[in-house]
């Protein structure tokens, strides 16, 4: 398939790997965090870690929107789904994420709540138009990639004067989270790892462009390479970062120029700016309270804001004690460090959010990495 197969060529991957080996200084170490779950998925799926020299280490970051949503927000969605007359709709992954007391939206549905999966925000609008007697609430989550589609739906709801549609907004912002990883005293106290460089988001950057990372690279003196989600993209980004570290540079480079520009998608950005405003603070699983890291609906759209329409509970019961998602999302622990990994916790029966979406570090390792562990322990 065009623009897919060429970026998965195994031989080219080997030659990039050779170049990385030749360029990486054996006397230093290179700690590279991939922020996006999409990269985590590619690294596990194609076994990219095996291609890298031992002194080039990949650290999985918090970039999976399903994984970073704290338990309290999932509980709140379940609470909304249980209100009389409400139909709660959301993307498929969200249905299985455990809230507190191991309740999920799927279980709430089994108990009689009207919970439905949609592929697109436009399906949510259609559902609301077709069911004027129900209150259709869209449980909106995701980074800068899913916010513009939510904005389009809001525009439509406004145009159609839909009174039975609203959005439970949980959209979060990538650059603030990356900053938090390096900045927050809380993360520092809880322990963190050495980070020399970042692989910047692929699809998020199609929207926001590469420019927001320029400030970050300069302020924190860390190189950033925006990279696509195919295996060759990730390998090439690692090579570009090794070069920057060797040269003592900290620039934003764009490996994914086929889809990302410096300024991003202006149409999508202005739509989002029209309808959303920053929340002063928002909680991320693993990162704690992150200032200005999430969005809510602006006042003129209050009529479509589920949090203004209902008194949505705002408490956060915290994570299941045994689940290590928080430490995994900060890059301090690996999935196999969790006692529940692969025993009690599997994708069919997830105990924590990192086991739910294909981009979660635990799910990616369960699906593609487990057998490698076996091989290495046999050897």
């Amino acid at each position: 398939m065009k623009y897919i197969d060429e970026f998965r060529d195994g031989e080219v991957a080997q030659s990039i790997a050779k170049a990385i080996k030749a360029e990486a200084d054996p006397a230093s170490t290179y700690h590279i965090m991939e922020f996006c779950g999409g990269h985590t998925h590619a690294i596990s799926r194609y076994g990219l870690e095996d291609l890298l020299p031992a002194n080039v280490r990949m650290i999985h970051g918090p970039g999976c929107p399903v994984c970073v949503l704290p338990v309290g927000r999932i509980d709140a969605a379940i609470w909304l789904a249980r209100q009389p007359g409400v139909t709660l709709v959301t993307y498929g992954d969200m249905l299985r994420v455990p809230g507190s007391k191991r309740l999920s939206l799927l279980k709430a549905k089994a108990e009689g709540a009207d919970v439905r999966m949609v592929y697109s925000t436009l399906d949510a609008i259609k559902l609301a138009s077709a069911n004027p007697d129900r209150q259709v609430v869209f449980f909106a989550i995701g980074f800068e990639t899913t916010t513009p589609p939510t904005a389009v739906a809001l525009k439509q709801a406004q145009a159609l004067d839909l009174k039975n549609f609203s959005v439970f907004c949980n959209h979060v912002l990538t650059p603030s989270a990356i900053t938090q990883i390096l900045d927050s005293p809380e993360v520092r106290e809880l322990g963190t790892v050495k980070l020399d460089a970042f692989i910047g988001p692929a699809h998020v950057s199609t929207i926001i462009g590469s420019r927001p990372y320029e400030y970050f690279a300069e302020e924190y003196q860390r190189p950033v390479v925006i990279a696509g989600f195919e295996p060759l993209d990730v390998m090439q980004a690692v090579r570009m970062l090794v070069r920057q570290i060797n040269d003592g540079r900290f620039e934003v480079e764009n490996e994914f120029a086929r889809a990302v520009t410096r300024d991003g998608n202006e149409k999508a950005k202005s739509l989002v700016a029209d309808m959303f405003e920053l929340r002063r603070v928002f909680e991320w699983r693993g990162l704690g309270q992150v200032p200005y890291s999430a969005l809510r609906l602006k006042e003129p759209y209050a009529a479509w804001d589920a949090e203004r329409r209902w008194d949505v509970p705002q408490d956060n019961p915290g994570d299941n004690k045994a689940c290590e998602c928080g430490a995994i999302l900060r890059g301090v622990k690996k999935p196999t460090d969790c006692k529940l990994f692969g025993t009690v916790c599997t994708p069919e029966n997830p105990m924590g959010s990192c086991m739910v979406s294909a981009e979660g570090a635990c799910a990616a390792h369960w699906t593609y990495g487990r057998f490698r562990d076996l091989e290495t322990s046999d050897a």
């Binding site: 897919i4 030659s15 990039i16 996006c36 589609p149 090439q236």
Partner: protein, 75 residues
């Protein structure tokens, strides 16, 4: 939930929609977030929306970089 693949636009439909094809599967998506898309373009589709249009020249340049690197290497 951020994974998304480049899909081929086969037909522009009314109301800012398009038909796209990916690996033999045809789907209708929204073009509300992009401008100037025509049949034959590849777009990155996520949750039913095209987020960006693939730039064929930049794609060719990236592939060329991969190739050059193989040649630069000492045998």
């Amino acid at each position: 939930m951020c994974l998304a693949l480049p899909s081929l636009v086969t037909e522009i439909l009314p109301d800012d929609n398009a038909r796209v094809e990916l690996g033999g599967v045809s789907k209708i998506i929204s073009l509300a977030l992009v401008s100037d898309v025509k049949p034959g373009d590849y777009v990155i589709v996520h949750v039913g929306y095209a987020l960006s249009v693939i730039d064929p020249e930049e794609a060719a340049r990236t592939l060329e970089l991969f190739r050059e690197m193989g040649e630069e290497l000492p045998a």
